[in-house]
Each structure stands twice: as structure tokens, then as C-alpha cells.
Symmetry: C2
Subunit: 265 residues, 2 copies
DNA sequence: CATTAGGTTCCAAATAGTGAAACTCAGTTT
DNA sequence: AAACTGAGTTTCACTATTTGGAACCTAATG
């Protein structure tokens, strides 16, 4: 896993939120004693933070099992965040169209602290797995969307991001070094799209394009995922056009996007 | 809208999170000056809080327009919350089956601070509107899921919850008083399901059942929504059986649910 | 050019946060 | 059954952080 390493001291609030992250990272309800060593805080301090977070509904405390897990207040807040700050609402229509056209799984992602944050998804078939996917994070160095975004990062931010990659060899095609990654990024910039050829998971390939705002900054990426069992490399490459076009459309939409004047629901 | 009125002073963290809520409530990016009057905090203090939240990625600050909106960190955190603390993962299968069986929109909700928090949804047709729905909040006094849950609240919590309802008359069938609501709740307890007969929106009706844990506490509710144009009252009432059964199955699943031992993804 | 209003910074006073240590309460173990 | 252990909770004197009134910047505006 990548180390978060956010602005370390933002006073009490920063420290408390760091604990919240820590609990979330576990991915399962955790006990006080499990958090303590990872938090690097005095027992009493951590205790107070957890209490506060729980009272604030940012954490849910299970009385029986004595475990902490991220709380429901976050779900409410995230809905606002997703609707207001993510690319998802802007990209809605393009995502729908692309998914319908190609009939494959489509992902929309943004870069977050050197990791890929998926913000929306259209499934190949099943209507299942709703929110299950939005908010999910994944590695940048071995995914199509991740590499597409890294390729267009300015050098300073790229260096930071690369420093955060784990370069864990998920498959034997995974890029294992910063150098290999940088080479790949150059190639991606040249051809305008990124490929993930079973670098993250055997049997899964995808093609991704960066979404670049008017001033040239990466604001996200979009990808189409296929299985090597059902789709040849040629067929995958043939999708470069549509994917790049979709990315361009989302970029255009984002540039003109003004937040719609809602009435308070 | 209902007043949140959370534990007011939890020190700096509590006050800061209250500001976060405030910003989220706007439902659109807001400027400092718009927040100031609503926050009831000194200018300098509010300013510092917003700075902190933005630096922490809990808020996103738009440099050009000088607006604050909920930040992406919330989306990441909420994914954990949704997967760990909500009923959604437990209810997955039942939701899928019910939606397939009835072919109508199905909602899964939990009670949050006197309001309804939708945590999952299956759409009638289109595969659209992902996360768009999870995390959404709605009123309790005029929705099927809301009333179903209120009906099974212990008196003290019920009184609190009722005090938070706005009793705004969305339609001419909306219940307008605590008394009318309490009567309705008694009826709901008797028959085991709740109806929303165009009380929230004209043309929309739904039937909902509470999800009760082993010890009799409400842990959520499930509903099927239909339009009066396409579904008669009789047809809607005929769904009571399947909906109640689904609720019972989710309750059973929740009672046995142990969080699956994930490997860190 | 004076005025206002949104936004930002200062800094002494006051408050809220800190954490070592002591305590509680189940389960052990001897 | 007394002593031990380890997880969780509380205390309290010390101190670092937070606080907010007021002053200070800008742009816009009349």
C-alpha cells in the first residue's frame, strides 16, 4: 500500500482525520489495540480521537465487538462530494454512450494522492455493484487510467506520485521500476492512450485515455476494460479512437461545466 | 430541511466537522461569505476551519471561483464506510433478487439523525445513476422507508426523530402533524409494512418494510417504488408479501453477518 | 477617489488538548 | 483464591493550540 503522508500537522483536526484514514485503511472493523501501534500516538490521545470521531458519527463503534469502522456520516458527505467535486456528473452522458456503444465495462477515475480513485463505472452487463466501485482506490503504476494520468502530470507532481507507488509485481508484466514506468509514460504521451496489458491482473486488459482540461492539466481518465479471453489485442487497440474521443468530450464538458443551480431538495 | 444539531461541542474537531456539514448542505460550491452567516462563527475562526478542511482534502477549494465544495477524500472514506458499516453489502443478494423478481425500483435505507439515508438502490431499467443515489438523504415522515423505520423506534428515539421532521406539505396527502404521523406509525406496526401513497411526490407510491434485527431494533428498511400511472393500488399492496420477506431475509443475513476476512487489496 | 465588502493576517489571552501514570475489569495463570 | 496480565478508560497538572477582535489587504463599486 502507498503511504498517505498528508500534511502531517494541521493541529488536532489533522491528527484526528489521520486516525480516521487509518481506520478506513484496515478495510474491516478494528479494535483499539490494533490501531494503537499503527497510529504512533499515545494511548490516551488515540482513545480521545476515536471517541470524538465516534461521537461525531465519522466512525461507528460496535459495542459488542468493541470495534471501530468508518461511519455513515461519511456516506452522506460523500454523496455531496461526488455530485459536486468529481468528474462523474459531468461525464455521465459520455459514459453512458460509450458503455452502450462498446458494450464493455467503462471506468472513470481521478488521481488522488498518487493513487487512482474510481469515481464512476458502467458495467458490461449486470446492473449490480453500485457504489461498490465509486470511491474505490487502486494503484496508478499498473492500471490504464493510472498511467494515462501520470503521463500528463507536471514533473514535480509526477516525482511525488512515483515516489508513492509500491511497484508490487501483481503479474509478470507489471512494471517494476520507476525507470520502466517513466519510459512507458513517454510512450503513452506520444500515442495519446495507455494500455494495461495484464499488468494488474492476469486475463484483464484495458485501454485508457487521459482527460485534459483546457489549460493542459490532467483532471481524470477514462478506460474500457476487456478480458483477454474474449478480446484480441487488435480489437482492444481498435477502441483507442472511441476512448480518446470520449475523453475529449468529457474534457470539453468539464471546461464549460457550471454547477447547475439546484433548488435545495 | 431538518436541523442537524449534532453533539455541539466536541472541541475543535466537532466544530470543524460542523462546518463541513454546512458546506455539504448547500449542495453546490459556496463562497466564504455565504457560509459565514450560517456558521455563526467569528470570521477568522471560520476562515481557519475552511483552510484546514481544504488542506486536508475534506473540502475542495476552487481557486478561480473562490468556492468550497466537499472534497474527494470523502469519497474514498465513504467507500470504506459503505462497505463496512452499511446494510448494503449484507443486502446485496436480496436486493438483486427482489429487483429481478418485481422489475421495479428497489431502495435500501437506514435512519440517520432522524432522516432517511439511502444506501443502495436497484433501478427498474437503466443501468445509470450509480452512487448518485447512495448517500442521498430524504425526509422520514413522508417516505415509505422513513415511516417503516420510525414505526419501530423506541419512544425516546422516536420523540427525538419526530422533533426533527419538518412536516413540509410536499403534496396534499403528506402527513402534516406529529399526531397524524404517530397514528400512521401505529397502523404500520400492525400490518408490518408502510405505504407512501403520493405523500412525497405526486404520481409516486411505494411500499416499504422495516428490517428488524434479532433483538427487535430497526436497522433499516427496504422499499419498492412504483408510479401510480403504471401500477394500481391493488398491485402495490400485492407486493407487501415479497417486500416483507425480503426484509426478513436481510435481517437474517445481518444477524449472521461477520465481516469477511479481506486481504488488503 | 472614497467607499464598501469579501477575504486574509496578527497576536495576546484563554481555552482546549496532551500524555504519563494510575485505575478498572475481564480473563488468565500460578 | 490470590496474583498476574492486557485491553480499555479516566485523571490531572502542564502546555501548546486555538481563539477572535481588530487591523489589513485587495478588488470591485458608486
Amino acid at each position: 500500500m502507498t503511504t498517505p503522508q498528508r500534511e502531517t500537522s494541521d493541529g488536532t483536526v489533522g491528527r484526528t482525520l489521520a486516525v480516521l484514514d487509518l481506520v478506513a485503511e484496515f478495510g474491516r472493523p478494528v479494535r483499539f489495540a490494533e490501531i494503537l501501534p499503527k497510529a504512533g500516538l499515545p494511548k490516551a490521545t488515540l482513545y480521545r480521537f476515536l471517541q470524538t470521531l465516534a461521537r461525531q458519527d465519522m466512525l461507528a463503534f460496535d459495542d459488542n465487538r468493541q470495534t471501530y469502522a468508518p461511519g455513515m456520516r461519511l456516506v452522506r458527505l460523500a454523496h455531496s462530494a461526488w455530485a459536486q467535486s468529481s468528474l462523474a456528473p459531468v461525464a455521465q452522458d459520455v459514459m453512458d454512450r460509450l458503455a452502450r456503444e462498446i458494450g464493455q465495462t467503462v471506468h472513470l477515475a481521478q488521481l488522488d494522492n498518487g493513487a487512482v480513485l474510481y469515481v464512476d463505472k458502467r458495467n458490461a452487463r449486470q446492473p449490480v455493484e453500485m457504489f461498490a466501485q465509486s470511491g474505490k482506490v487502486g494503484p496508478a503504476y499498473c492500471t490504464g487510467v493510472g498511467k494515462a494520468m501520470l503521463a500528463h502530470l507536471p514533473e514535480d507532481r509526477l516525482a511525488q506520485a512515483i515516489a508513492r507507488q509500491s511497484f508490487h509485481a501483481h503479474t509478470d508484466r507489471t512494471l517494476r521500476t520507476p525507470e520502466a514506468l517513466r519510459d512507458e509514460l513517454t510512450r503513452i504521451r506520444e500515442r495519446g492512450y495507455a494500455l494495461d496489458d495484464e499488468e494488474h491482473e492476469v486475463g484483464i486488459a484495458c485501454i485508457a485515455a487521459p482527460i485534459l482540461s483546457g489549460n493542459g492539466r490532467v483532471i481524470g481518465a477514462i478506460s474500457v476494460t476487456t478480458t483477454t479471453a474474449t478480446t484480441s489485442r487488435e480489437q482492444l487497440l481498435a477502441l483507442a479512437g472511441p476512448v480518446k474521443e470520449a475523453a475529449a468530450q468529457i474534457a470539453a464538458a468539464a471546461d464549460t461545466w457550471r454547477f447547475p443551480e439546484h433548488k435545495q431538495a
